[in-house]
Amino acid sequence: MSARVVHCAVGPDVIDPVDVLSRVGSDEDGAALLFVGVVRNHADGRPVSGMRYDAYAEMARKELASIAHEAAQRLGTDRVAVEHRTGELSIGDVSVAIAVSSPHRAESFDAARYVIEEIKKRLPVWKKEHYDDGSDGWVEGTVPPGTGRRVPAMPDAEVEG
């Protein structure tokens, strides 16, 4: 199937989830799914007043496009639209919106989940939480796979000598 996707963006513009959803869908599709990530008012039990998203913007755009393309392969359609926001966000602001559609529901659930999980693993984005007491801190993140080692991992557990 196509590796194109209908829409992919990283940047400071406000995200309208309804607009993202409106980019997917087709007469062939019986299922559409929209995931919305929102800044919430707590983190690990600590009250949060806002969040700053930093990104390695040029790379994040490429990486998000790769993730969306991979999701399209799983989905079996090119109907994937995703936006990730950067900058200062308040409680309730949308940080990410992912919309997909497909003939049957299983592929939509799988692909939407894939996009958000890969974003968390690989997208070069960082967030700084602003706490109610005026302090702030970087959110503990995830080391992306396929980097940070001196040698590549062995493809097989055993190698014949």
Binding site: G37, Y53, D54, A55, Y56, E58, M59, A60, K62, H84, S95, V96, I116, I119, K120, K121, R122, L123, P124, V125, W126, K127, K128, W138, V139, E140, G141, T142, V143, P144, P145, G146, T147, G148, R149, R150, V151, P152
Partner: protein, 83 residues
């Protein structure tokens, strides 16, 4: 012969290093790992960078034994937290 690369620091690494970019001269044939070692040898604050950080070369994740070329953009990527 030397080669010059453009090093980028993001988020907590930028806070640590106190700069977002740094141009570094390396010997020809140097790898990403050699760049890390060179920076860490400079002492504070660079010695607080991890020995095996996540890195991207020209905006693609790379292993530390990847060889560098003149003008490469090498980003130090702290653990990511998008979404």
């Amino acid at each position: 012969m030397t080669l010059s690369v453009n090093t980028l620091f993001f988020a907590s690494y930028r806070d640590l290093v106190g700069a977002s970019t740094l141009e570094v001269e390396l010997s020809e044939g140097a790898t990403v790992g050699d760049l890390v070692d060179e920076l860490r040898r400079r002492g504070a604050p660079f010695d607080a960078l991890p020995e095996e950080p996540a890195v991207a070369v020209n905006q693609t994740y790379a292993l530390l034994d990847e060889p560098l070329g003149p003008g490469d953009e090498v980003a130090f990527i702290p653990p990511v937290a998008g979404g």
